[in-house]
């Protein structure tokens, strides 16, 4: 009771206008524009394209026969229609999961070999999956997002993803929605898109993968989810897990209609 009365008093006080927010935002916009001049993601794209065409693995074949959803070997525009249901695997897959599938089925890698370096770290631990993802996604640049929900499992993934988006847990009570469920917010100086809206999801989803300046690495959407959960104080999100794919489905589908615009460069 007492606390509530004080709270009312506290809430009644009017917060002063944020200082110099406008000019800070302008300067950050200039910083981002300057970075777009040259995006090191291109180095990953080039390596990924070479990997795609190289005969590799125990079976010594290329990945060019891999079906990313539009038919074997069709790369152009494939990412704009992922995740999707794949009958051969009888499950919904995102791009990274599908690449692992193709490395196993076509090239003969074991699943653990294919997943050895899902997230790269420096020169000694480069990730083939990140490079391949950079290449495949770059081939959808400018293609409108068109993620299907026609299969029952696609619909289920979407709806489960929506539930997970609101799941609060961990020591800090954080859910995806804590930071990404409102308009016009930012964390530190970084704008937070509202991922429940088409506009917000489009802005965010179509710019992953991205070269992360703070890490000096190209990062995929699987990594984006993994690292969000790390910072939410959750345990580790498993690569290619159902939760990762369901959330990706929720966000990718919400981004439908917007041209894909990655790989991008971000802080």
């Amino acid at each position: 009771m007492f606390a509530r009365a004080v709270f009312a008093l506290a809430a009644a006080a009017i917060a002063p206008a944020a200082i110099a927010q406008g000019s800070t935002a302008d300067e950050i916009a200039k910083y981002r524009a300057a970075l777009r001049e040259g995006n090191p993601a291109e180095l990953w794209q080039a390596r990924g394209e070479a990997l795609w065409r190289e005969k590799r693995g125990p079976k010594h074949v290329t990945l060019e026969g891999c079906d990313l959803g539009l038919g074997p070997g069709i790369v152009k525009g494939a990412y704009a229609q992922l995740p999707r249901y794949f009958a051969d695997a009888d499950r919904v897959m995102d791009l990274e999961t599908r690449l692992v599938w193709c490395m196993v089925k076509l090239q003969g890698y074991t699943e653990s070999d294919a997943k050895r370096n899902v997230f790269g770290s420096g020169n000694d631990k480069k990730s083939d999956l990140e490079a391949l993802t950079a290449y495949i996604t770059s081939e959808s640049r400018g293609v409108p997002m068109k993620v299907p929900l026609s299969h029952a499992k696609e619909m289920e993934a979407y709806r489960v993803g929506e539930k997970l988006f609101f799941f609060r847990g961990g020591t800090h009570d954080f859910a995806c929605a804590t930071c990404h469920g409102e308009e016009g917010k930012r964390i530190r100086l970084q704008d937070l898109p509202n991922l429940m809206t088409a506009e917000g999801a489009q802005k965010a989803y179509t710019t992953w993968p991205a070269y992360r300046v703070s890490q000096g690495e190209l990062r995929t959407f699987e990594w984006r989810l993994y690292d969000c959960f790390r910072q939410q104080r959750f345990p580790e999100l498993a690569f290619g897990s159902e939760a990762a794919i369901a959330l990706t489905m929720y966000l990718a589908r919400n981004a439908n209609g917007a041209p894909y615009d990655g790989p991008a460069i971000k802080r």
Partner: protein, 206 residues
């Protein structure tokens, strides 16, 4: 703690209220729970127990971003209010300089963090505080001149300490962590952050 029968009731109520397609909503919710359990691995200091929701987390998840009915919100707030342990010495204000460090520190309790390393409150991620820090978030309200606008009487001190200790006691389903209740910060750290907000010498109040 809230008696569990009542909790179950208000969780169910919240689900029903947010229900768009009632046919298999429960099925999807059950699937989501199973997916969560199957998709994470323990890492560092973050065990799978962190996925076990308490009553507040469960109710706020089910609300799916929509406002809770007032009676349910009140129940959450009352239950959380009961958890607050105010300082035994009756003193709410610590060292604002240390409070500033805690407000800046973003590490703590992530699986990548050293368990014996620093644990901060990361206030600047969501709030403006000292005007010298340009890099502040806007998820929460600006706290610049927090004490200057409200005064720093004992009631404001007590409220502020309590809000940091357990934010859900005052606003159900707040985005703000429950720093004391979840043992993220120590009592002394909460006092230091309270001082950052209320001490007249703090840069927040200049």
């Amino acid at each position: 703690m809230i008696p569990s029968a009542r909790v179950a009731l208000f969780v169910l109520g919240a689900i029903a209220a947010g229900c768009a397609t009632p046919v298999d909503e429960g099925e999807i919710a059950a699937k989501a729970t199973a997916v969560i359990k199957a998709s994470f691995k323990p890492a560092g200091q973050a065990g799978l127990d962190r996925l076990e929701q308490d009553e507040t987390q469960r109710a706020c998840s089910a609300a799916a971003g929509k406002a809770l009915p007032r009676d349910i919100a009140t129940k959450i707030e009352q239950a959380n209010l009961a958890t607050i342990r105010y300082p035994a010495d009756g003193k709410f204000l610590g060292d604002w300089k240390n409070g500033e460090k805690i407000a800046q520190e973003g590490r703590g309790m992530q699986f990548s963090d050293n368990p014996s390393g620093p644990v901060g409150a990361n206030c600047y991620a969501c709030h403006q505080l000292s005007p010298a820090e340009l890099s502040f978030g806007t998820i929460g309200p600006s706290l610049y001149q927090y004490g200057k606008l409200r005064g720093n009487g004992i009631e404001v001190q007590r409220y502020t300490f309590g809000k940091i200790y357990n934010s859900e006691a005052f606003t159900a389903c707040s985005n703000m962590p429950r720093f004391g209740h979840k043992a993220i910060l120590s009592e002394q750290q909460i006092k230091d952050v309270t001082a950052l907000l209320l001490d007249p010498a703090s840069p927040v109040n200049q």
